[in-house]
């Protein structure tokens, strides 16, 4: 454990916590500009959160402790994940538990609690959203595990810090069929996990199509603020993880001097990825719910081929 690592871990948690709503703002702004609208500005998600936080906390009649606990668990899991994943530094003191499986389990824990909260309200929309979310999660999980397996086979460890460090020292690993296939699979899965467009539309409230929004329909006030903030953080962490697995340049190791550079590099990477995602969404329509398994089966196949290639193709 080093001082630089501790400072870096604290810095990345703070950066994700403060920057996640801004990332959502940037993505909405890119989308608005491409659609010919002026847009509400990059800081609008923060203004929304402030407005929601000032309202009185209110919960629907008949909901239990799960409904109240879910936003806290969701936000807590996202914060821990932000501290564990090597976003800014690879020398985080939490590196020992920075296992890809552990991180995915942390993020899934939040999703499961949100689904339970959706069921807890006993409204038709909550239950529908929860069951759909579980379908997507069940299809996403095997793909994530397989692509992680493909990436960790060449490193010999599922520790995120080690995977990123190895890629950093050996850049030609990035341009190989294994990375290529795993990148495609993980990109599809990241989109599905964060509820972006071909799988779920984050800005819809149409009952037939919404997944994430259906689960959080009953939340209001500070609870809703917490849920929105946590989903923004999930998006940031997953995009940052994706960027650092395949393009880790600029990440800080044990030196304190690299930290500002790493913070800037991380922000730039996430903003570029988010902007590209938002720009891609403009040209795409949401898939029908029954076509989503096709998309995820495709990503599963890519992940499986990545694993096969990592064992059978000769490494350079």
């Amino acid at each position: 454990m080093s001082a630089a690592g501790t400072v870096g871990a604290v810095a990345q948690v703070l950066l994700v916590a403060a920057g996640a709503p801004l990332l959502v703002g940037v993505m909405r702004q890119v989308r608005a500009r491409l659609e010919g609208r002026a847009g509400a500005g990059v800081a609008q998600p923060w203004r929304d959160l402030r407005k929601l936080l000032r309202k009185e906390p209110i919960a629907p009649h008949g909901t239990g402790v799960l409904f109240r606990a879910a936003p806290l668990v969701l936000a807590g899991a996202a914060l821990v994940a932000a501290g564990v994943v090597p976003l800014v530094t690879t020398a985080s003191p939490l590196d020992g538990i920075a296992d890809l499986f552990a991180v995915i389990a942390l993020l899934a824990l939040g999703t499961v609690f949100l689904a339970l909260a959706g069921l807890d309200t006993a409204t038709a929309f909550g239950g529908m959203g929860a069951s759909r979310e579980m379908v997507v999660l069940a299809l996403v999980e095997p793909t994530i595990l397989l692509s992680v397996f493909a990436l960790s086979a060449r490193v010999g460890s599922t520790n995120l810090g080690e995977i990123v460090t190895t890629t950093l020292h050996d850049p030609q690993l990035v341009v190989s069929p294994v990375s290529l296939l795993a990148a495609v699979a993980l990109a599809i899965v990241t989109i599905a996990e964060t509820g972006r467009i071909p799988v779920d539309n984050p800005s819809t409230h149409l009952e037939l199509t919404m997944i994430h929004e259906a689960m959080v329909l009953e939340y209001a006030g500070p609870d809703l603020a917490l849920v929105e903030w946590a989903s923004a953080m999930r998006l940031t962490v997953l995009l940052g993880l994706f960027a650092n697995l395949f393009a880790p340049w600029g990440i800080a190791g044990t030196s304190l001097l690299m930290l500002p550079v790493a913070l800037l590099a991380f922000s730039a990477k996430v903003v570029v990825l988010g902007g590209a995602l938002a720009a891609g969404e403009v040209f795409m329509a949401k898939l029908r719910m029954f076509r989503v398994p096709e998309l995820l089966a495709g990503s599963f196949l890519m992940a499986l081929l990545a694993v096969a290639a990592s064992f059978f193709l000769a490494g350079p």
Partner: protein, 219 residues
């Protein structure tokens, strides 16, 4: 070509070959399938060129240029013309739905990795290690051939299977005699010409190119 770069280029070419095959199984849009077939042809040409440069065979490199012209330009153009004339632009209802066929493709990939193990162990080299991937492309092409209904996507499946066979031949022997490859390519070209004529005849007679409608006898 030096060792590291050679293995790298070989792996990338084989990976692109496989990726194009998988995506062709995924898409329903016939125009996209034809485009993917062109991409696969280019990947095959790149693979042959890499092998030729590594071995230092000028003839193999020339063959790669020929493959590029035939499989990335001529055959896709012919398929495209057949598609535009046919008027059917989507693979509406494959016999096996897309999600199941992707899972089947995963099983086929594992099968080909399992059955080519003895072949790879005979002479382990970067080229022979890529043989299972090429065999996967053969099986994927065959799968497309037997599960699709449109005559055009069946032809595309047949051609992808042939791409895979060519890739296996080059990876295992490093250098099919020029005359053999020439004869094979000519055969494929002729087969596509015949199939194109057959498809247009089927359409003229029955008004559609859905081959499942041809099971009953007509006067």
């Amino acid at each position: 070509m030096s060792g590291g770069l050679y293995v790298h280029a070989l792996d990338m070419a084989v990976g692109a070959l496989l990726l194009a095959g998988v995506l062709a199984l995924w898409r329903r849009d016939l125009a996209a399938i034809v485009r993917l077939f062109a991409v696969q042809g280019a990947a095959l040409a790149a693979l042959v060129a890499v092998l030729g440069l590594h071995e230092g065979h000028a003839a193999t490199v020339a063959l790669a240029a020929g493959i590029l012209v035939l499989r990335a330009a001529v055959l896709p153009l012919m398929l495209r013309r057949a598609m535009l004339a046919g008027g059917a632009f989507r693979e509406t209802e494959p016999l096996v739905n897309v999600a199941s066929s992707l899972v089947a493709a995963a099983l086929l990939a594992l099968l080909s990795f399992a059955v080519t193990r003895p072949v790879v162990e005979l002479a382990p080299s970067p080229a022979t290690r890529a043989v299972p991937v090429a065999l996967t492309v053969v099986l994927l092409g065959f799968f497309v051939l037997v599960t699709r209904r449109r005559a055009l996507s069946q032809v595309a499946g047949f051609l992808m299977m042939d791409n895979g066979i060519t890739a296996v031949a080059f990876l295992t022997t490093t250098g099919v005699p020029f005359i053999v490859e020439l004869g094979m390519s000519l055969d494929v070209l002729l087969a596509v010409l015949v199939l194109q004529i057959l498809t247009s005849r089927i359409r003229d007679v029955f008004g559609d190119s859905d081959l499942d409608d041809l099971r009953e006898l007509h006067d």
